[in-house]
């Protein structure tokens, strides 16, 4: 597996963001903050890193007078995540962790 990807997803917040986005079509910044349990500042940094690595796409818009940030996993992000997942499963940890897809 790509060392850069492994390093990127070693961070639990980034791993949470990418795992969540892998399972949904898109998610708001607020929702990602909620599921990852990270602070606003921390999640902004981690989203930026994932965006720079082209694993996710960020779209900003306005809803009424309020800004809304939507994040979506890219095709590259999906492929990378699958590779990452396969590498984890090759360690045989999936049996003990009871993962389902």
């Amino acid at each position: 597996m790509n060392k850069e990807l492994e390093k990127l997803l070693f961070n639990p917040v980034r791993l949470k963001i990418l795992s969540f986005l892998f399972s949904v079509e898109n998610a708001s910044f607020k929702k990602l903050m909620e599921v990852s349990g990270a602070t606003k500042g921390n999640i902004s940094v981690q989203i930026k890193k994932l965006e720079d690595a082209e694993l996710i796409k960020v779209r900003k818009k306005f809803e009424g007078n309020y800004p809304l940030t939507l994040c979506k996993i890219t095709s590259k992000g999906k492929t990378s995540f699958k590779i990452f997942l396969n590498s984890l499963q090759s360690f045989g940890v999936n049996k003990s962790a009871d993962i389902e897809f």
Binding site: K16, S19, S23, V24, N26, K31, V35, V93, A97
Partner: protein
Amino acid sequence: MNKVDQIKVINDMINEARTSLKPLSFNLVFWGIFINIMSIIHYTFPSFIQQTYYSAGIYWIFLPMIGMIYMTRWNIKKYKEMGYSTTLGRVIKIVWAVFGLGWLMISGLAFYQGINPVPDILFLLGLVSVLTGAIIKFKPIILGGIFLLIFVLSLYIYPGQNALIVNMIGITLGLLIPGILLNRMKTDE
């Protein structure tokens, strides 16, 4: 973080991303109650609802349109609150939006041609219910849809039946009861 922890994080996130079916159950219950109340009012006061050639058509087109506007706004608000969307959620939305469009078209055409729209609407509702139940793998909705299709057949075989009573029974079995059962499910899946 070791590999087992990483797998656990991934599993937890996938579980977090499940499609909530509570909004769908609220939609089914809302329409079940709404249509039944409309049917009861029509059945109880037929002379009032059918006082002119157009009044029944107006009653059955405009009131559901108000319901649709209310529910559309409610659904948009609910999905905004959730903060994420899934493919399953999008498919359900498309299926019911197509039904809403079909409902309006059937009602409009029936009004224009002066025919009873109940069998066609129940038929469409039956199909959409079976489809929804199959998509979310929830048998009571599939069964409700099948009941609706049986009621449509009965309306064609025995045309003398009171369409409003058939409508009430069909809507109760096809929307209201499956909606309540879906709402009472322990998990959102």
